[in-house]
Symmetry: D2
Subunit: 393 residues, 4 copies
């Protein structure tokens, strides 16, 4: 178990280090990065103290640079690598009525070109994932044809997939869905079923991305995880937590038991780490990525805490006695089977994870180690002037 | 439009004529049918006064009879026909931990045999649909393996589909899903995506059944309808309405605007009536079925009202100026496109439907005509003694 | 009924005329006002064509001007008046952890001072309502003491109420609540019960404000309306509609039947218009205010449409045969009572409202009249340069 | 902390020992009690092995006996006492349209008489609580007047409160609310605000009962708990857990973190045990009661597990370092304050509770001790013949 925990790979997103907020207010913090390089430097801190966050997702154009090879080199020097590439087709006035699903073909063309540009950036930076989320949808009944928009979505994905196959054969296309927001009446990819349908039509390198905050109230997310794993189509996660909508809180903060149940499905499917690294055909690997907004709390400690929460949930899930569980299930022992799972959940795995970190040559308490490092004071002092990166910048 | 409205086909369920209730109480009404024949007689009343409810769904074993050919004949004599056959795999103690997904293979065998029995009943009665809903699921995290249960579900459906192909080539298998209840932690078919995945693996005669009450709060049902129509996999509806869970209220009673929006997707897909009757290959027909429980209100008037509500929603949807709508959509005119849809919704279509009924030789007001017929008094007087049929009996 | 409809009073908010959006993007429109005067000019257009929107709510500091008496005069010249005054205690970095509930007493003092400033603005502009909504709350379990925050809220409200009593005896304090957003774990005023409790402790001039978008899924809003009317504590509405969260869509766009049911409670309580104008003691008047964000659609037509939607819901509610309804209810005739209500809802009241407008000397179709007026073109041409007002500016 | 945990008092309900189920099926188990005496005997087992479940709630008429003094004596002999008395006004055909809110005054009279009868039973059995839950509500818009029903509710509660004051001065009236089910459109007591309003009008001995399963999705229950504690009006809990509706699962099974957060509010208010036993005036005691249905799992072990879950949540809540928490809150340290709470939650308190039990002279593992006792085998063998008690019997 310790070996698995040491090999776990949890990606942090460049945008988590920037200012963020709600539609009501983006609160400014001190020491916020002002460009992609500074974001990667911050992400490298999270890896430095946890040892399991070796990649950083980037968002284009928020992280646009002149020379992506240079950015990748910089990341390597900081001890991390570029992770998923995330196109942005929602922050221009052109996209008011949608991007790839817009009724206007010129705007669809522009959006598709941006997706293709991101495939090329992925190839240049050595990224393994093109991570697609669309804000597309409608606000009012009748506003646009649901079916036409599906056709347009299918066309855009197919064009992009084709380019990906041609120029970035090691990339996987991750197709995210979202139940609601920022469109209110329809989202063009509202649920895992819609994303999966598109993936099935595209081909094997298209998989579904599950953002834990993107579901209707009461949805059983681990059920979706199990279904996608069974179909070989779970591409990855955007982890975060929420009480009501897409709150983007620290993963595990709102419902740690739900996170544990998700990780238990991962454990039961043997997908905590790639089962056959180097053999893409047998690859069942799932990309564990954070996607959060630390509106009130400091960014780097927030990400460290999030990585630790995923580790704790994983460690608990790995603690489940699967043999005993199988026996209880087969016997129809409802309380017994549940009890086996709860015993693992109620175990305090923090000492185990401290040991894992010590074995990896790390401090046992990443938050304390980061606090003691002086990095936070340094960036607060150094990062004055320039424009602090914000959500959407 | 009048012609389409006159040809619309809305099936009522035999169980809607029986006593029903909640887990707290099943309230007894007077004049309740005591067997399948009396239920069909009641259903025939609904057709008599609306003209658009020519079939009756049956539920086995609630409607078990010695001679199904005789039951079909009786129905024909009453002016109706047997509609979908609905197996029941949830009302025996054996099914405590599930039916086709039960960990015990003997119980799975029993459940599958019952499904197959229902295929044969379908063949005998001339039914066109095998309508499958499973109460299967689990109540507690860890209770059973989500993935194993999917495998068991797939196996049961495949066995049944094979028999259906062999003995009832005109039947379609409708695979219903339900977000929640009676299992609380997982339902084995919780959403349209799961049902569709199974259908895709089964073959073309397997389609998804949408029960309007079986979704998470905030789910956009017309989006699902549009998606399934686009894939050619919308098999039919169980219509009802709800405020919170699966309330099984009169369709259109809780949110008439949502019903209208669903019918608008049907209209836009040209699926109000079968497009090519007699040509099964081109068949895009959707089975419109009611699935309701009239806990407080009288049964037959409740069903008549429900049929009328579907008609009104259909008539409003048919009133939408689709050409103007297409133009407004293409122009990105959000308020205009929404306004065109709202204009149709705000139209009072009751006079139009009265005309449709008059053209069909019916009384314009079905509820008044039924009330004046004396049927209700008759059954109250005649149906004394015996056991009133209840939900589950 | 026509007389009541002509006397109905629906307030529009100054911020509805500014750019708005989600946390993902605020889309820019042309012709957007650049200060409070231009917003009032736009609001006056809505009144010009509907005849029932004679007041404009203002938001401080978004609508800060040097001379409020001058602003009130300008409004009067445009044919409208200043409505509710809305303080803003959420768009400064100081308010990151709350305003009146902040753990820091200096920030609480600042927030309370702003509330008191708004009372004075209300007195200067002749406003009748101080409309209080707080973004206060917490994002993480444990972040702050729920109870201490209630004590701080009570103290802030009491101080403000005292000043209101002293300097603006004709004002009512409206205490709004919101289930969720922008705080995610707790909102300090999450529901009508919490708002009402504070009002009961404050005194008779404190009443609850119901924003139709601020409830948990499945909440029966007309029930809350009826309960507050029964207690004499319904102060007013912020009307809008939503599919999932606080979408701020055009009122009646998402669920027109729900809006009708709300208006039916108003009608049954005799509160469509003030029952005893001039006699504050017997005043049961309810302030009907819009609170919407027209992210995709044009602002002024969006507001006109919204006013018309409230009128249509009111006209339908006034069409209910209350005598027949009372008889059916007393007889326990479930279908009959529901049918009486549905008959009114299914009535097309648009011709009636056209007549009401004609009687008022207005064009029957306000949207067409506005479109023909040339105003939209005029503001697009004239309002170049300066900073377009946005949500929060 | 150990002392508090040993003194905690968690009441179990007589109906938890009977068969239960959903509207789809009540599954029969073996060894089910056949009368109130056998239910109390089973409840006494739960107390025997946990030491903290010394009372049993009864439900009338499910637990009707000829001689309540004799029942109380039997309970005492078994080592327990009669807890809350729960009237039932929902399982007769008369109550189809409601009980105390029924439009028919004769049915209201019948229902009120039953409430009063239960006050007398409470006095005879030494019960401290009259626990009122009403299934009253409506299914269809328009069905009945919301406001008239409130008036009828107020009248019924007032009559009952008066009798309680006269004949059972030590009883508290607990007024439960429920968001939904079995009525679908309105529940007459849908939320804590409505219950509290009635309590405020009644007097000090009327308090609100919070059933953890009776809220809208996303509702923050600990917020309600804190609000009611602040008003001195939290009467007690019905504990259970749910994923979607009112699932009545084992408390802590669906969201153990939420249960912990509730107990943390109790701990912060000093209300884990009565603060001033014997001094009713200063009584802030909260009745911790279970209200669950063990549809699939065995009853007595299900209740033992539930009691243990409440204990674990309480022990974790008592582990929070409240001083450090206060300091972090005052400093605005969001991550720090949350971290202090999470540290307590992540602590494994099972060894501590084993020690508490050992100190109390109990076996450390109540489930194992019960399993070893042979009681389950004994009741399976002895309880044959007669009618097994079911939910509602």
């Amino acid at each position: 178990m310790r070996k698995l925990l040491a090999r776990q790979h949890i990606e942090t997103p460049s945008w988590a280090y920037a200012n963020s907020g709600t539609r009501f207010k983006v609160f400014n913090q001190q020491g916020i990065p002002r460009d992609a390089y500074e974001k990667i430097a911050d992400a490298a801190q999270v890896h430095r103290y946890t040892g399991v966050a070796p990649t950083v997702a980037i968002h284009i154009p928020w992280d646009t640079v002149d020379d992506y090879a240079d950015l990748a080199r910089f990341a390597r020097d900081e001890g991390v690598a570029i992770g998923a590439v995330n196109p942005n087709t929602f922050q221009e006035d052109d996209y008011r009525l949608g991007s790839v699903c817009n009724p206007d073909p010129k705007i669809r063309r522009k959006a598709i070109d941006h997706l293709i540009e991101c495939v090329h950036i992925g190839a240049e930076t050595g990224s393994k994932q093109l991570s697609l989320w669309f804000a597309d949808g409608t606000n009012y009944p009748g506003q646009d044809s649901i079916r036409d928009r599906q056709d347009r979505m299918a066309d855009a994905l197919a064009q992009t997939y084709q380019v990906m196959t041609d120029v970035a054969p090691e990339m996987t296309m991750l197709v995210e869905y979202k139940f609601f927001e920022p469109a209110f009446y329809t989202m063009d990819l509202p649920d895992w079923g819609t994303s999966l349908l598109h993936c099935l039509h595209l081909g094997e390198r298209a998989k579904v991305l599950v953002d834990t905050g993107h579901h209707a109230p009461g949805t059983n997310i681990e059920m979706i995880v199990a279904l996608l794993l069974r179909e070989g189509r779970l591409g990855g996660f955007h982890f975060n937590s929420r009480f009501y909508a897409d709150d983007d809180l620290i993963v595990g903060a709102a419902d740690p038991f739900a996170l544990f149940r998700i990780m238990l499905e991962i454990v039961q499917a043997g997908a905590v780490v790639p089962s056959a690294e180097g053999d893409p055909a047998a690859d069942n690997s799932v990309a564990f990525m954070l996607d959060q907004g630390h509106n009130l709390e400091p960014k780097i400690p927030g990400e460290i805490r999030s990585v630790m929460n995923v580790q704790e949930a994983t460690a608990k899930a790995l603690s489940v006695d699967l043999d005993a569980l199988g026996t209880a299930r087969q016997a129809g022992d409802v309380l017994g089977a549940n009890g086996i799972v709860m015993d693992a959940y109620n175990t305090d795995v923090r000492p185990l994870l401290e040991q894992v970190r010590t074995d990896m040559g790390l401090a046992p308490d990443p938050l304390a180690a980061y606090a003691a490092s002086g990095y936070q004071q340094k960036i607060i002092e150094e990062r004055v002037g320039g424009t602090a990166a914000g959500w959407g910048a």
